[in-house]
């Protein structure tokens, strides 16, 4: 069992081998961006990029979690990642949607954000990228008062009343 001493199990200890690997460097950051849809997986046959080390040591095997299939992707040489347009673009997008300073640099704030507890469902899927890009950014949803077809406007209270009235909701005021 997982060791604990308190009645409510609140002090249950995790085995160190059961701890999730953290995002600590460019490699793991790229893995994160692939996994959650910010970078697109590419078939192995088509991943020959200039300056890319094709040895197996630098290959990353990633799973396409939505389609239940496995694509082999080629990671770029870690040294060249900071300059890679794909990596930078993906990083920028992640920083933007996460409310981080948009630097395009794998900085500490980005690292912390990538290591936060999160859902395993990708944020973007290939067949939904356009749709999500046009409709689900934080700014878009905050700016539009009503993004859907169902029209809804808050009701204004009619002040022409002949009886003191109060809604017992939290913010009620006596008229």
């Amino acid at each position: 069992e997982k060791l604990f001493h308190s009645r409510d199990h609140s002090d249950v200890e995790m085995f160190s081998s059961h701890l999730a690997e953290l995002v600590t460097d460019m490699d793991s950051a790229q893995h994160f961006l692939f996994k959650y849809g910010f970078m697109k997986p590419v078939n192995r046959e088509h991943t020959q990029s200039p300056g890319v080390d094709t040895s197996t040591d630098s290959d990353i095997f990633l799973e396409d979690t939505v389609q239940d299939q496995t694509f082999f992707t080629h990671s770029e040489d870690t040294e060249h990642l900071p300059e890679s347009p794909d990596f930078i673009g993906a990083l920028l997008e992640f920083q933007q949607v996460s409310g981080l300073p948009v630097t395009g640099v794998f900085d500490d704030a980005t690292k912390v954000a990538m290591n936060k507890p999160r859902c395993g469902v990708p944020d973007k899927e290939e067949d939904q990228i356009e749709t999500i890009e046009t409709s689900t950014t934080a700014e878009d949803l905050n700016e539009s008062s009503e993004p859907f077809n169902i029209t809804a406007t808050p009701q204004s209270n009619n002040t022409d009343i002949d009886v003191a009235q109060n809604d017992t909701s939290d913010k009620a005021e006596t008229e």
């Binding site: 997982k2 199990h9 609140s10 249950v12 995790m14 081998s17 059961h18 701890l19 999730a20 690997e21 953290l22 959650y36 799973e63 979690t65 239940d68 949607v97 996460s98 409310g99 954000a113 290591n115 936060k116 507890p117 999160r118 859902c119 395993g120 469902v121 944020d123 067949d127 939904q128 749709t131 999500i132 409709s135 689900t136 950014t137 934080a138 949803l141 905050n142 009503e146 993004p147 859907f148 077809n149 169902i150 029209t151 809804a152 808050p154 009701q155 209270n157 009619n158 022409d160 009343i161 009886v163 003191a164 009235q165 109060n166 809604d167 017992t168 909701s169 913010k171 009620a172 006596t174």
Partner: protein, 423 residues
């Protein structure tokens, strides 16, 4: 608006896995879905009963703001269950995606399918103050199963990263609209709608008058929070729980007779009526003459037929207006007898020819929020022209009806839940 309503209705009969144009996501083609926490997938951290209770609540939260209803199914074969939930660690349940251990990924879900929780995470009960709220994660993952993607908006339950739970998190306006964009809004006829007046004394001894709005549908009711444009969190509630002594199947009408001499609230059902004792939160056992409740409508309101469709008290002329079929029965409180009978179309003429409920109203509702009388039938309501409108435009006939509008465009998210989810 009629076209849009039809579009929403057609969505519910779509075949499974058809896509929604806006999100590009599939949606269930039926509104009643079964779920089960699978036996081999119990968490080691909470009791089974706690886990099931939390999942019941998570499903109910989606049910309260959408036309979907969820049933915990403990008997059907597993492959007939719509949504299966389970806890696992590392490689689990033959799932294509392994869990990563404590930290980072806490759960994942499959569209129109199952939900897996990483049991290496420290899941806790709601408001535990530490760990990861299982309720919050479950609500999020159920959102995926229903067809919602991640949403990067502060306050959205569909944010990908876990936010420590504030006390009592709920589904906000935009999350509601997101799920309703897939499944449509909530509809259904009401038994009655009314504003309940209560008098309270402040700490300074001053009497203040407050009101709350209630919608009733058969044996259920909702408190509607006008300032928030939604129902109270956790509603609906059974009538028998909130209104002691009323029939468990609900009522036909509510009337509040409120004048200088009288302050009495009545509920009507079938051929009977009750007077409600607000001070003691239950029906009166007998009236001032010692006659026990429920009483016959024909005795308390001579000349008024039963059952009635609905009724309301008009303070302008101190009459109760009873509606039944296409007729309106004006009852004088002072004379304690029927004053007149008229066709609804005469008493409340339509401003737009043909745009009128004509008969069989669901509710005649005077709203203190709007200082307006509404006539409600099915999915539509008509606003009765009031004093202010007639001051601005004297040509408007007295008590005429403005064109019909949709109930769910005025009062939002009044949604049924499955009876098994009622407390």
């Amino acid at each position: 608006k009629q076209h849009h309503l039809q579009t929403l209705l057609r969505k519910s009969s779509r075949i499974k896995r058809s896509t929604n144009a806006l999100w590009g996501h599939a949606a269930f083609s039926k509104n009643i879905l079964t779920w089960r926490l699978i036996g081999e997938g119990y968490s080691s951290q909470l009791s089974v009963e706690e886990q099931r209770h939390i999942f019941r609540l998570a499903f109910r939260m989606w049910s309260e703001i959408s036309p979907l209803q969820f049933i915990e199914d403990l008997h059907s074969p597993p492959d007939e269950i719509d949504i299966r939930l389970g806890f696992g660690t590392g490689r689990h349940f033959g799932c294509a995606q392994s869990f990563d251990g404590a930290g980072r990924e806490f759960a994942h879900a499959w569209f129109l399918g199952d939900i897996h929780f990483d049991d290496d995470e420290h899941f806790t009960a709601p408001n535990a103050g530490n760990g990861i709220s299982l309720l919050k994660v479950a609500v999020h993952e159920i959102g995926h199963v229903l067809g919602l993607p991640h949403i990067y908006r502060s306050g959205s339950i569909m944010q990908p990263s876990y936010r420590p739970q504030d006390d009592g998190f709920e589904l906000d306006w935009l999350d509601r609209k997101a799920i309703q964009n897939l499944y449509g809004g909530c509809g259904g006829r009401f038994s009655t709608v009314f504003d309940w007046i209560r008098k309270e004394r402040t700490a300074y001894g001053e009497v203040v008058v407050r009101f709350n709005t209630y919608f009733m549908r058969n044996g259920l009711y909702w408190l509607y929070e006008n300032r928030s444009n939604r129902t109270r969190y956790g509603d609906p509630v059974s009538v028998q729980v909130g209104w002691h002594g009323l029939p468990s199947s609900g009522v036909d009408a509510y009337v509040h007779v409120w004048s200088r001499e009288t302050d009495a609230a009545y509920f009507f059902k079938g051929a009977q009526y009750w007077r409600y004792d607000s001070q003691n939160d239950q029906v009166f056992s007998e009236d001032a003459d010692g006659q026990r409740y429920p009483r016959l409508i024909s005795e308390g309101f001579p000349g008024v037929p039963s059952p009635v469709d609905t009724a309301y008290y008009d303070r302008r002329d101190a009459h109760i207006y009873f509606f039944r079929g296409s007729l309106v029965y004006r009852f004088s409180i002072q004379a304690n007898k029927l004053a007149a009978t008229q066709k609804m179309t005469e008493l409340f003429p339509a401003l737009t020819p043909g745009d009128h409920p004509t008969s069989n109203l669901d509710a005649a509702y005077f709203s203190y929020s709007h200082n307006t009388l509404f006539l409600i039938k099915g999915a539509s309501y008509w606003r009765v022209v009031g004093k202010r409108a007639r001051k601005m435009k004297r040509s408007l006939p007295y008590n005429s009806l403005l064109p019909a509008r949709e109930v769910q465009q005025q009062w939002f998210d009044i949604c049924d839940v499955h009876t098994s989810a009622l407390r």
